[in-house]
Symmetry: C2
Subunit: 272 residues, 2 copies
C-alpha cells in the first residue's frame, strides 16, 4: 500500500500495454497542460489482449508499481484490456491513490451523450470479444442498445502511418458498414490507437453521429476528479511528459511523432 | 539427444511461432502427399519477431522438444525468426535428426533461379530488419544483389481474409513500388503468410519476375533430403496432418480454412 503524500504538484501516472496510450497522454496534455505526466508503456509485452487473465492481472500489478515509484496523485489506465479485466488489481495496488480506466470513462460519456439510445463501439478483436464496453455501457443505463464491431486492421494501419491512405478508407468503409441501418447516434472509439484515424472515421459516419474518444473522455474525467479534490496543478508552464518503456522498438521515434505530433523527448528504459 | 530410430514411416515434424507455418504444411502435403506430418504452432507466444534473442532461442528449444516426442525423421523450421536466430539450437536439440530452415531453403532457391543477379525479398519488419535473407543469399553467391522491403500490413491483411480486397491491392502496389527500376528478376516471399497473397503479388510484379515461395522451397528441399537418405514414405494414402497448438485463438478455425483450404481437423492443445 503506497504511503506517499500527494499534492497538486504530484504527477499524473498513465500506463498502457504499449504506445497506444500516448493518445491519452496527448488528451490529458491538451485538457490539463500544466500537469506533470509520468507514462509507462509496456512495449516489451504488448499486446495484452490475447493473453490469459492471470497474466494480464500480473502485468497490471507490475505496471502500477512502476508508476507508484513516482508518487502520482492519480493513475490513469490507458489500456483497454487492463481496464476490462484488471482494474481492481490496479485499485488495490494503488491504495488511496484514485484510479480511472479508459473503458469506463468512454462508456459513461457515451451513455450521457446518446439521444436515440443506440451506441456503436469499435475496438480490437480482444476488446470487442470481451464484451467489456457493452457491460460498462449497460451498467450506466440498461435500456441502452450497444452494437459492437471489431476492426482488427485499424491498429496495424495506424502504426504503418496509413492515416489518409485510400487503403485505410476502403477498410474503414467496410468495417463501419456494420452500422448501416442500425440507427446509432454515438460511436465509441474503444481502442487507444483509433483517435489517430478519427478524421477518416468521421468522414464516413457523417455529422449526425457523435464520436466518443475514450482518450478525451478519460482526460475530462481526470480534470473533474482533480478539481473536486483540490489537486489541480496551479502552474502555468506546459510540462514535458516523462516517458518510460520496457522495450525500445525500432519504429518508436516514428510512432511517437505519429501519436503526439512532436519529436520524441528522452525515454527511460524500465526492466519488467 | 534423441535416441529414437527413424524410418520411412516416421513423420515429418514442422513448427512455427503460430499458424503461418501451415503454408509449409500445405506445400509439403502437395509435394509429398504420403508423408505423415506433425505440426506445432506456438500460438500462445506468437509473434517471435519482436522478442529478444535469448527468449527466441529458449522457445526454439522447447518447440523442438515438443516435436521430438513424436519421433520425427526430419524437422522443418517454418518460422523465419527461428530460422534466422536459432537454427543451431534446433540442430543441437535434434541430434541426428536432420533439420531444414525455411529461410535457407528460400535463399538457396533464389540464388539458383536469378539470371540478372538482383533479388528482391519481402518479409515482416522483424525478418527484414534482421538482414537474415540478405546474409543467406550472399552466402550462396556473394556477387548477388539483394533488395529487401518490409511489408508490415501483409500479415494482418492476410489474417483478416482480405485476399482479393481492393485495400490489399493498394497496399501491395505501394509496398512493391520499392522494386520499381531496381531490375530484380526474382522475388522471395520471406514470410510464411505471404503465399496467401501470392496471386495478388504476382499480378503486380508481372510475368518477368520469378516468385520464390519459401514454403515450396523448403518442401522441395525436404523431398530431396528424404530421397537421398531412403527415408521417403512409400505409402499411397494421403495422410491427415497431426496439429498441435499452444493456444486456440478465437479465429483459428477460420484461419485454418484460409491457409489450408479445408476444414479444421482435430487439434491437440499443448502446454508451453
Amino acid at each position: 500500500m503506497p504511503q506517499h503524500k500527494i499534492s497538486p504538484d504530484s504527477p499524473i501516472g498513465i500506463f498502457d500495454s504499449g504506445i497506444g496510450g500516448l493518445t491519452v497522454v496527448k488528451a490529458v496534455q491538451a485538457g490539463l497542460p500544466s500537469e506533470r505526466i509520468i507514462y509507462f508503456g509496456d512495449t516489451a509485452r504488448v499486446p495484452y489482449g490475447p493473453k490469459s487473465q492471470v497474466t494480464i492481472r500480473k502485468y497490471a500489478r507490475e505496471d502500477t508499481e512502476i508508476l507508484l515509484k513516482h508518487q502520482p496523485k492519480l493513475i490513469i489506465v490507458a489500456c483497454n484490456t487492463v481496464s476490462a479485466l484488471a482494474l481492481d488489481v490496479v485499485e488495490q495496488c494503488a491504495g488511496d491513490i484514485p484510479v480511472i480506466g479508459v473503458l469506463k470513462a468512454g462508456a459513461v460519456l457515451a451513455a450521457e451523450k446518446t439521444r436515440t439510445g443506440r451506441i456503436g463501439v469499435i475496438g480490437t478483436q480482444a476488446t470487442i470479444g470481451s464484451n467489456a464496453y457493452t457491460c460498462a455501457i449497460l451498467k450506466e443505463n440498461e435500456s441502452l442498445e450497444v452494437i459492437p464491431k471489431a476492426c482488427p486492421l485499424f491498429v496495424p494501419l495506424a502504426e504503418e502511418g496509413f492515416i489518409d491512405h485510400p487503403a485505410t478508407l476502403l477498410v474503414a468503409q467496410e468495417y463501419l458498414s456494420a452500422f448501416t441501418g442500425k440507427e446509432i447516434d454515438t460511436l465509441v472509439l474503444g481502442c487507444t490507437h483509433y483517435p489517430i484515424l478519427r478524421r477518416m472515421i468521421e468522414k464516413i459516419t457523417g455529422p449526425d453521429i457523435t464520436i466518443i474518444d475514450s482518450a478525451e473522455a478519460v482526460a475530462s474525467m481526470a480534470g473533474d476528479l482533480l478539481s473536486a479534490r483540490n489537486l489541480r496543478n496551479p502552474g502555468k508552464e506546459t510540462a514535458i511528459p516523462h516517458l518510460m518503456v520496457s522495450d525500445l522498438p525500432q519504429k518508436f521515434r516514428e510512432l511517437y511523432r505519429l501519436f503526439m505530433g512532436s519529436d520524441l523527448p528522452d525515454v527511460e528504459l524500465v526492466e519488467v
